[in-house]
């Protein structure tokens, strides 16, 4: 695939890794924000090419993982309602609520459908006028424009039977929350490239200045990630704290204007609870008053939800970068993708899932000498 395959070139990757090795003189901790970046790192083994003094800390960039358990339970209750067609992206199917998951709801008779795009859900609403079609709108800023368009079209066409369960979270407040935490050890950030393709990176210079951290807008393929790391390391070694764009073929400073415009119409900023982290002020989006009628949380009053977290699950610590998935005692034992204790083990962007699916349950040492 053009503009994908070239950025996986092994020889160039090793050259970039060499550069990084030659630049590093001290230990550093760099956080990659996006779960997609975490997956790519583990999948290709990028961390194995880096010097041991350079630690990659996995960030909370998994919107499914940070969706509050209470909202997951609410989604499951709605999906179980008769006359509801519940639509979500594929990896939501096995995200555990307090009692069950969407897969169980489906096997118990709930009409749960996997969709590739929110537009598919709008289509279902058009084709099933007597049913209530609910779309689980989970995501960062990357996914928000798609969800916004779905709601916007529904309003335009007067689709009364369409609604969205919104769980949108924003990256810059998360970076701030991480930097403000007293336990924080992160010294630089690889910003999420596709989030920035929508939002631009004009929000980052104040953060870089306030917290004295380099922030490098980074893509997802091996060469993009290594280049992002290389630039971050170069800044760290030189004592700089600036914003750089290492994904310039896709990201511009202003970002996507048409998308931002519709986003500001359809959504408004709100405080959000991040599972495992707590409430981060002004860190999420909810439907604006003009679109509030499409809010599934208001449309479906579901009661009798008893939310309780698994005492063994340490997803919160993983999401904050405090531990690696393999540090959790339940990893690979009580918790695996078939019987997950938390969302990080099943989401396509969860760090635990990345570690499990790419076999990081053997030690890095064993792996390096395999």
């Amino acid at each position: 695939m053009k503009y994908l395959t070239e950025f996986r070139d092994g020889a160039i990757a090793r050259k970039l890794a060499d550069e990084i090795c030659h630049t590093v003189t001290r230990p550093w901790k760099i956080m990659e924000v996006c779960g997609g970046q975490t997956h790519s790192i583990i999948r290709h083994g990028i961390d194995q090419l880096l010097p041991p003094s350079l630690q990659l800390v996995h960030g909370p960039g998994c919107p499914v993982c940070v969706t509050p358990l209470e909202l997951i339970d609410r989604a499951l209750a709605i999906a179980a309602l008769p006359n509801v067609i519940f639509c979500s992206f594929g990896d939501m199917l096995r995200v555990p609520g307090s009692e069950k998951d969407l897969f169980r709801v489906k096997s118990e008779g709930g009409d749960v459908r996997i969709v590739y795009s929110p537009l598919d859900a709008v289509n279902l609403a058009r084709r099933n006028p007597t049913k209530e079609v609910v779309f689980f709108g989970v995501g960062f800023e990357t996914t928000a424009p798609a969800n916004a368009m779905a709601v916007h079209l529904a309003k335009k066409e007067g689709l009364r039977n369409f609604s969205v369960l919104v769980s949108h979270v924003l990256v810059p407040p998360a970076i701030e929350a991480i930097m403000q935490s007293p336990a924080n050890q992160v010294q630089a950030f690889l910003a999420a490239g596709h989030v920035c393709s929508v939002m631009g990176y004009w929000q980052y210079p104040p953060l870089a200045a306030r917290y004295r951290v380099p922030i490098v807008v980074t893509g997802f393929e091996p060469l993009d990630l290594l280049e992002g790391i290389r630039r971050a390391v170069r800044q760290l070694e030189a004592g700089r704290a600036e914003v750089e764009n290492a994904y310039a073929r896709v990201v511009t400073f202003e970002g996507n204007r048409p998308a931002q415009e519709l986003l500001s119409q359809v959504f408004e900023v709100t405080d959000r609870a991040w599972r495992g982290i707590g409430v981060i002020p002004q860190s999420g989006w909810r439907l604006s008053p003009a679109y509030r009628e499409f809010d599934a949380e208001l449309r479906f009053q579901v009661t009798g939800i008893h939310t309780h977290e698994s005492p063994l699950c340490r997803a919160g610590d993983v999401l904050r970068g405090a531990i690696k998935p393999t540090d959790c005692s339940a990893f690979g034992k009580e918790c695996d993708p078939r019987h997950p204790l938390g969302a990080t083990m099943v989401s396509s962007e969860g760090a635990c899932a990345a570690y499990y699916n790419y076999g990081r349950f053997i030690s890095a040492d064993e792996l390096a000498h395999a």
Partner: protein, 106 residues
């Protein structure tokens, strides 16, 4: 979900009350909504996420980035000794880097 993939715009038309396109991802063609990249034309490349084009790929930037990557280490190459050239050619691609701060031994 941040999974977004680059594809080539093959055909543009109206649909769903919006500008739509057939986008070719390395041989796989899918329908994509172009509402957010109104300026894109047939033959150009775009990044697509959950059925929506969210950015136009700047091909000049892409080329610049790849050229920069390819030039990396070329200065080293020029000044390397004959012995180093031979060593590099003979060795199977190493996963480990050769700096003393690296974790794995050769």
């Amino acid at each position: 979900m941040c999974l977004a993939v680059p594809g080539r715009v093959e055909e543009i038309y109206e649909g769903f009350g919006s500008r739509m396109a057939k986008v070719n991802f390395g041989g796989v063609v899918k329908e994509v909504c172009l509402a957010y990249v109104p300026e894109i034309t047939v033959g150009e490349y775009t990044i697509v996420h959950v059925g929506f084009a969210i950015s136009r790929i700047d091909e000049a930037e892409a080329k610049l980035t790849l050229d920069t990557f390819r030039e990396l280490g070329m200065l080293d190459e020029e000044f390397a000794t004959e012995e180093q050239h031979f060593e590099r050619a003979a060795a199977s691609p190493p996963a480990e880097c050769d700096s003393s701060s690296c974790q794995t031994e050769k």
